[in-house]
């Protein structure tokens, strides 16, 4: 029952064309343009090999923004795993069937809601007159509002975790669904407690899910901008916001150079992750 090759090519052509025309080609062009020289006479670049954009990354402390982006991504991914692992465990092992369905639905919804609105709503919680400061003052724990809750790195990390938590939880749930319940039951019967089962059985057997979850959150955070724009302090930045700032003065070579560096890291990580544990297997139907 093999489909003739021409039909397969026919099916693939339209989606492939869209992906190339709107995704891969523009990105490839940006990578090429990042090596072109700025032409002041046209306010555009000209086809002349130049590393000025890349040199610009090393100026004005821009590389520190790149480093702090990695730090933010690492921290966010780690926190998401710390919350996501127990969540996946609760959904798969502790919840009744009906509750598990509701929890899975609640984990799906955030993918499709507005990251902008969700980040913005944290302002009402963390602000000087926000929920947390009001509660703290009503309880008499502080006399004046705490300032570092909002427009700070703390707020950005909180917003990032809330935004990308489902990206960590889903691969973990999928990994736990592949666990053999008999092995866990056997361990229990032989007297292994909760922590022993976690350490010797569940964690080692779901480690691919742990890596996938970490990678997803890390990569999504690398490309995030709204959380910093909504919740970050005056000087706060992250690579995507830095690209925005650079584009405001139409510094194309620099914007393209930063984009190229980020793209190289993102694609590198995703391809590496794919090689290690095959992303398509995560979604393969197991019926």
């Amino acid at each position: 029952m093999k489909l003739p090759l021409s039909t397969l090519a026919g099916l693939m052509s339209a989606p492939a064309l869209a992906i190339i025309a709107m995704g891969l080609a523009p990105l490839a062009v940006v990578v090429v343009w990042s090596f072109w020289a700025w032409d002041p006479s046209t306010y555009w670049i000209k086809p002349e090999l130049s590393f000025a954009g890349y040199a610009g990354i090393l100026e004005a402390g821009r590389w520190t923004v790149i480093l702090s982006t990695f730090a933010k991504a690492f921290l966010t991914a780690a926190i998401c795993l710390l919350i996501g692992f127990p969540t996946a465990y609760a959904v798969h092992f502790l919840a009744s069937r009906r509750l598990a369905v509701v929890l899975l639905a609640l984990m799906t919804i955030p993918f499709l809601t507005s990251y902008l609105i969700r980040s913005f709503s944290w302002r009402l919680v963390l602000g000087r007159t926000g929920v947390i400061n009001t509660l703290l003052q009503d309880a008499g724990l502080t006399s004046a509002p705490i300032d570092w809750l909002l427009f700070s790195d703390f707020a950005v990390i909180v917003g990032l975790v809330a935004s990308y938590l489902p990206f960590a939880t889903f691969p973990l749930i999928l990994a736990m669904q592949r666990l053999d319940p008999v092995a866990i039951a056997a361990a229990r019967d032989l007297g292994a407690g909760f922590w022993t089962v976690q350490r010797t059985l569940i964690l080692p057997l779901t480690i691919s899910g742990v890596f996938a979850g970490f990678l997803f959150v890390f990569v999504m955070t690398l490309g995030s901008s709204t959380e910093v724009q909504m919740l970050g302090g005056a000087g706060a930045s992250i690579v995507s916001v830095m690209i925005n700032d650079v584009m405001r003065v139409a510094n194309y070579p620099l914007a393209f150079a930063i984009s190229t560096v980020v793209l190289a890291v993102v694609f590198g990580l995703v391809l590496l992750g794919n090689r290690a544990f095959g992303l398509s297997r995560l979604f393969e139907d197991r019926s």
């Binding site: 489909l3 039909t7 397969l8 099916l11 693939m12 989606p15 492939a16 869209a18 709107m22 995704g23 523009p26 990105l27 062009v29 940006v30 343009w33 996501g84 127990p86 969540t87 609760a90 798969h92 502790l94 009906r98 369905v101 929890l103 609640l106 799906t108 919804i109 993918f111 499709l112 809601t113 507005s114 990251y115 902008l116 609105i117 969700r118 913005f120 709503s121 919680v125 929920v131 809330a162 939880t169 909760f194 690398l222 490309g223 995030s224 901008s225 724009q229 909504m230 690579v239 995507s240 690209i243 584009m247 194309y252 980020v262 793209l263 694609f267 992303l279 398509s280 979604f283 139907d285």
Partner: protein, 263 residues
């Protein structure tokens, strides 16, 4: 699967789970509650003073409504294109043997491309090509953002299409096209509807790409972003709250229906 864990670990696991869900849902729900308060300062309304006046005031916000209309048009266009293209991509995936992993990766990859870079790349290229920014250019940017999700949803819905059904039809003389139209399509139609709604919502709520690609008429998230940063007003809470609620209800209904059928 229920387990026999000791009480303390169970308590710990549930507490952390609750913290996670609270982090995702508590702030937007609080924003939604605030939008029903008559006060100008954000705060919870007392039960007696719940009001819809900020929602009524939305009717006078011409800029917001024009942006909403623009966003809806773009979202419908994006959803149609993303659903059709993802269906083709999924059909191709089903027919592939060796290279399907690579094909999956190619379709999924745009999800990981940072929105700012995708928006900047596409908008620079379009400007250079002399194409003016419009609803169409935003759709072009949103298409690849929506496709990975639509593709995964359609691919999962293919699980109910057994190969034996198609083989039986083929034995009875049905052509490939007939098999697709009479067997595959009806079986995966719930998946197609979900993919359409998911793509619609993804486009409606997308901000960073639209920021670069929108023409003279901005989309709703772009207008909201501007207003959020220039002194938020209760009407912004109302619009944000309403959009959030609609998104949650749409996905919630689909997700619960799909998940409970699968078990």
């Amino acid at each position: 699967m229920m387990s026999r864990d000791e009480p303390f670990p169970r308590f710990l696991v549930w507490t952390i789970t609750l913290i996670g869900f609270a982090a995702i849902y508590a702030p937007p729900l609080y924003l939604l509650a605030v939008s029903f308060s008559p006060a100008l300062q954000p705060g919870l309304p007392s039960p007696g003073e719940i009001t819809l006046k900020w929602y009524a005031a939305l009717a006078g916000e011409r800029a917001l409504l024009a942006a909403l209309w623009q966003s809806v048009i773009i979202a419908i266009g994006t959803a149609v294109a993303a659903t059709v293209l993802s269906l083709l991509a999924a059909l191709a995936y089903r027919e592939m043997q060796a290279r399907r992993g690579a094909w999956f990766l190619i379709v999924i990859l745009p999800m990981f491309v940072p929105g700012v870079i995708q928006g900047l790349a596409l908008s620079t290229l379009l400007t250079r090509a002399g194409i003016k920014a419009s609803a169409l250019t935003v759709m072009a940017g949103h298409l690849l953002w929506a496709m990975p999700f639509a593709f995964i949803v359609i691919l999962t819905s293919f699980a109910v299409v057994r190969n034996s059904y198609l083989m039986a039809a083929s034995d009875l003389g049905a052509s490939r096209w007939r098999q697709f139209r009479d067997i595959t399509l009806p079986l995966i139609s719930p998946g197609l509807i979900s993919a359409f709604i998911f793509s619609f919502l993804l486009s409606l709520n997308e901000f960073t790409r639209a920021f670069y690609l929108a023409g003279r008429q901005n989309t709703l998230p772009v207008v909201l972003f501007g207003k959020m940063n220039s002194g938020a007003s209760p009407t912004i809470y109302a619009m944000s709250g309403a959009i959030f609620l609609v998104s949650v209800l749409c996905v919630g209904v689909i997700a619960i229906r799909a998940l409970s059928e699968r078990r």
